[in-house]
């Protein structure tokens, strides 16, 4: 008997006659009211000690330029598919020599201050937002949803997903949060309204 058959047989014997369970879903699902969504999202991202700017759609290119200048970032990764009107496209092979990465996102969650990347246009493969020390992410207003349930309805599980809530951090020393371990130590978010 293979281990697969053995495990499945043991499961059958263990719960074969146990009653099934109804799942009560009385919690707030997708589609909750969403007043002040952008402010809520911005405030929650700031709580993670990330830098947040809320700018008009026409100002995004300038805001990106300002942020990179402040950072004095010389070499910047911009994934394929990043909107051309926001920045000229560039491809850099060796990530370890890069100062910054600029991306879009797939969806953003107000209640938890989370941005989700799905490796699509303007986001690129997962390592792009991991190895550089500075991540600048542009979020469009229509990408911001109220809560976690809303975000899941908009995401495709077949794509590799990275949920980002603030800069990398650890609570391993006396359970106090310290920002900046292996991922980007600085996260900056531009919300385009």
């Amino acid at each position: 008997m293979t281990s697969r058959d053995l495990i499945l047989a043991r499961i059958r014997a263990a719960v074969g006659d146990a009653p099934d369970v109804e799942i009560p879903r009385g919690y707030r699902g997708p589609g909750a009211e969403s007043d002040g969504l952008i402010e809520h999202f911005a405030e929650r991202v700031r709580d993670y000690r990330a830098v947040v700017h809320v700018v008009d759609a026409a100002e995004v290119a300038a805001a990106i330029g300002d942020a990179l200048a402040r950072r004095e970032a010389g070499r910047v990764v911009v994934p394929a598919g990043f909107p051309a009107e926001w920045l000229a496209e560039s491809v850099i092979e060796d990530l370890t020599t890069v100062d910054a990465v600029v991306t879009t996102c797939a969806v953003a969650i107000a209640e938890t201050g989370t941005i989700v990347l799905d490796a699509g246009d303007g986001m690129g493969r997962r390592a792009l937002t991991l190895v550089p020390d500075y991540h600048l992410c542009v979020v469009r207003a229509d990408q911001v949803v109220p809560g976690v349930p809303d975000a899941l309805t908009r995401l495709d599980p077949v794509r590799p997903l990275t949920w980002i809530s603030g800069p990398s951090a650890t609570s391993d020393i006396e359970l106090n949060r310290v920002e900046g371990v292996h991922g980007p130590r600085t996260l900056e978010v531009i919300i385009s309204i």
């Binding site: 495990i7 719960v15 146990a18 109804e22 490796a119 899941l152 997903l161 809530s165 800069p167 991922g183």
Partner: protein
Amino acid sequence: MSQTFVGMPSFPKNAAIAVQDSQLRFNLRKATRTIRGKRASVVEELPDWAELRQAGKAIKDHTLRNLERYLVQMEAAVSAAGGTVHWAKDAEEANRIVAGLVKATGETEVVKVKSMATQEIGLNEALAVEGVTAYETDLAELIVQLGDDWPSHILVPAIHRNRAEIREIFLAKMADVPADLTDEPKALADAARLHLRERFLRAKVAISGANFMIAETGTLVVLESEGNGRMCLTLPETLISVVGIEKLLPAWRDLEVFLQLLPRSSTGERMNPYTSMWTGAVEGQDFHLVLLDNGRTDVLADEVGRQALRCIRCSACLNVCPVYERAGGHAYGSVYPGPIGAILTPQLRGMDTALDRSLPFASSLCGACYDVCPVAIDIPSVLVDLRAKARHPRTERIGMAAAGWVFNRSVRLARAQRFGGRMRKLIPKRLPGPMSGWTDTRDLPDIPQESFRAWWDRTEGGAR
């Protein structure tokens, strides 16, 4: 389970030594207080926490009831997405599978994401025997590994160490450590970043666990904070994930419950910094999923105890437990310490050793663990059930049989009470010999001159 803890004495002996360590008690008190406060405030913030908790409990129970169907569905989905699925009935088989996969790549080093399942099966030790070095990359795991120490907490394995101790360990054991390292948490985190950077970039094989597996889509989910998880999950060419069979969730939408319950219960954050989700082999990686039983189907067969398999390893029960806060994690002699460990370890390992038999008693049954559990595991009830199943000392069994005989008839009880009342000056506070096990840890209450019933009969309920 891991061989590390084999031969440890029973919990009361370990705890008696641990509570003498004032540094340990100070570290634990400080850390658990911090995390309790953070958890309380982010749980308070959600108006539907109780509903999320009920849903979380029911989703897990439904999954366990239909585990066979969902495992087969998971296997098919991962295979369809280009991954390879392996089944391991026990620790030995899981270790053999992983070692074989690593050796097939020709590599002798692997990087690891913090994983309870691989600790449970003692994977690092098994790989070492095969000539493969496993490097832990989670900061707390690194502190434990460098300090040649044991983990003492599910989420923060080095919770028993304070910043000064961590600095000492880094200075002594970390090859490339800055000579002027301070004990500032920021400086310590930077040292770890520097130490592991090259290792991440050159690693060819990574080993992880997973917080959740989605049967419907074949997706694996890993929650983390530091980015070491993302490094391991994305950079190496080969990824091997060892996951307990109880980590399944039926559907993609079920994450809407667990991605709210877990971060708030474990680190006390609205969301952990990074969550990675992947389905099968992505971005050109070679992906292997090892489904691990290792005693879980035995737990599943126990009607009372099976609820322990709902556990999502958040460690909220450790942080509120008065026993854990004083005794620390090492006293439990298992990679699963605290209240959840006290019910999980004896069920996974059996109750053959003095240590495992003593674990169900490592609790005051105060119930704080049940209150905070995000999947409503009734830990006190399981503890009581396991206590009944544990083999008790002979003197205790005789004493209980005698007490049962007396309590079973009111006439006998009344006689015993009258006798006790008369002899009350002579009854010792502590019993000798094998009976001292009972009185050493209990205070004998003062015996009244007469029982309540005798008083009621004599005074007609206080009327006379």
